[in-house]
Symmetry: C2
Subunit: 343 residues, 2 copies
DNA sequence: CTGAAAGCGCTTACAG
DNA sequence: CTGAAAGCGCTTACAG
């Protein structure tokens, strides 16, 4: 590879000190520098195709203008669309982003936090995995700038932006009740993650508020790594047995997709046999008829808020902000009483 | 933020030189160092929770152990699943990845190459956008390590890994002919990108090889940013008019999704009214019946090969490799004569 | 208006 | 076995 041109090269060519070159190329102390030298420096910098070495700059300034992003899996549409928004927002402020996938694994998460901080990212945006509270507490203790996104730990005081999952579950469950469904089941993830818990508590609270009985056997929690067989079994139980369900709230699009596959295979129909609402949009269900109602996450705000919070936190490290955003119920026929007509 | 602990801190605490600390922490010159000091150094490093400053290390060694990845849009499933594979493969060798989305825009691409190289990435993996040949040539000229992925420019000698699009188009078109379709249309992107061109030339070559007439009005090329209306119009023309088509090869999953939407809206059926094969898998079509046949890209190999090529190129900058990988035709009822039965 | 110099946190010949 | 020193490419008080 060709040798890189440095400030020194320019300084020598122009016959001036390195300091001066640095000043003009960074537009500092402008008034104090003669126009002639300034333009000459700029010209030869351009001629030599000078590109500042960010590494050297970073070592000196202790700033890398880099954000570390830890998601569960960048290949997952939720993560990648969030990543894209974060990328664009960060770029506005001259930041680039390094990413890593934790696979919902605490150990990988730890390793990622280590590598990213070793690389001196200025801050971290993290969608924390299960069992990573300790890592987050550590970050707090070190005073390292970071913001949690999508998920957070209520017991530790940090910056975060997340969907108001409780409220969203209330909305979804409420709609199902309003539509006249009598026996609403829940299929969600088995997780200690607070955001997931709130999807459950929101569902339960709403049933109670409407004087409905909350039935344990109508709540199914599926492990991350067994969504296929897990959902199938759950569906069998919810739709088989004696105390059958007439609507299901799915805690995620992935769970819903599995559920719909089962519904198809069994030759059942939505919403005639079973009403459906899910969390998150699903490409995979985009052609399904009827369209499946869902809680739409405010991705744009989620990503932008995360970046802005982080930049504030990097700038002056004094306060923490907690933001809960409202989801939007995108209602379609899947969650409407059969006599009503929507979409 | 707490002050970071440096080699100096450890050296002082142990009462030894910085050099020595550096050596033992990097496991260099092991035999030459007394076990006692070594263990003592390691212990206090652990006690102080020392984390090497990669920036300082990089400045000295001129290596950042960072790969820059430029895709068209990280939110696009093709890009993000590739990104994930690259992430994992890079991680095996201690590399992390910084990404950026070019949006198929040459200017953004240029800007990304600049920022990433300024940040001293050791190499670049690029899915080059239209009209970026000059940028790629520049990189070649500078001797900067990089590999093109998914796309490449036949006229410039670079490392690349890509699907053999010509062959894949041959396979797809051949299957359609074999299944007995008489009038096969093509809907693809309007682009000068060689990989896209090959999807067209492979289609044309196969028709010719089978003695079929190649009809210009059966080849529709759609702009990137008008896939919705573009495909609709194309479908109208292919399925309307007098010289109607009985099968369509779609140059991408996105185009196919639009096409299938049109087919649905018109109340047509696959494959009875129109046979279909598309390039790339589609989540959005996963529930569609019948399943749509597609050319499956070898994502795993694509990503891994890209990383390995890049690392070789970084290690010794002498040769370039070109790899074309075969796609796999995942055949289902959408592209089979109505009398045959598959899936 | 301009330059010499220190220093960011490391690595690595070199000398002892 | 160990240390002093130079240097990676910058920035930035400080002195003139």
């Amino acid at each position: 590879m060709k040798k890189k041109v440095s400030l020194k090269d320019i300084a020598q060519k122009v016959g001036v000190s390195i300091a001066l070159v640095s000043y003009v190329l960074n537009n500092k102390n402008e008034k104090r520098i003669s126009k002639d030298v300034a333009t000459k420096i700029r010209e030869t910098a351009a001629a030599l195709n000078y590109r500042a070495n960010q590494i050297a700059k970073s070592l000196k300034t202790n700033k890398t203008n880099t954000i570390g992003l830890i998601v569960s899996d960048i290949a997952n549409p939720f993560s990648s669309s969030l990543a894209r928004i974060i990328e664009d927002e960060a770029d506005k402020y001259g930041y680039t982003v390094i990413f890593g996938s934790s696979d919902e694994d605490a150990e990988k998460s730890k390793k990622l936090i280590d590598t990213l901080t070793n690389r001196q990212v200025d801050g971290l945006i993290i969608a924390p995995a299960d069992d990573t509270v300790e890592q987050v507490k550590m970050l707090v203790q070190e005073g390292f700038p970071f913001v949690l996104v999508d998920r957070y730990f209520p017991e530790v005081q940090t910056n975060y932006v997340a969907l108001d999952n409780f409220k969203a579950a209330q909305t979804a469950t409420g709609q199902l009740l309003h539509a006249g469904f009598k026996n609403i089941g829940l299929i969600t993830y088995k997780s200690t993650l607070h955001n997931l818990q709130e999807r459950k508590t929101g569902y339960i609270a709403t049933l109670k508020a409407h004087g409905r009985e909350v039935k344990k056997h109508h709540i199914k929690e599926i492990g991350y790594h067994e969504t296929g067989p897990g959902v199938e079994k759950a569906m069998q139980q919810l739709l088989g047995g004696k105390d059958v369900v007439d609507a299901i709230l799915f805690g995620s699009n992935i769970l819903a997709l599995q559920g719909v596959k089962y519904i198809n295979a069994r030759g059942l129909r939505v919403p005639e046999n079973v009403g459906v609402i899910m969390f998150d949009e699903s490409e995979a269900l985009s052609l399904y008829s009827p369209p499946i109602s869902y809680i739409k996450q405010p991705m744009e705000s989620l990503g932008k808020t995360a970046v802005n919070m982080l930049l504030e936190s990097i700038a002056r490290n004094n306060k923490t902000s907690q933001v809960k955003l409202d989801g939007e119920l995108v209602l379609s026929r899947s969650a409407v009483a059969v006599t009503e007509s929507v979409v």
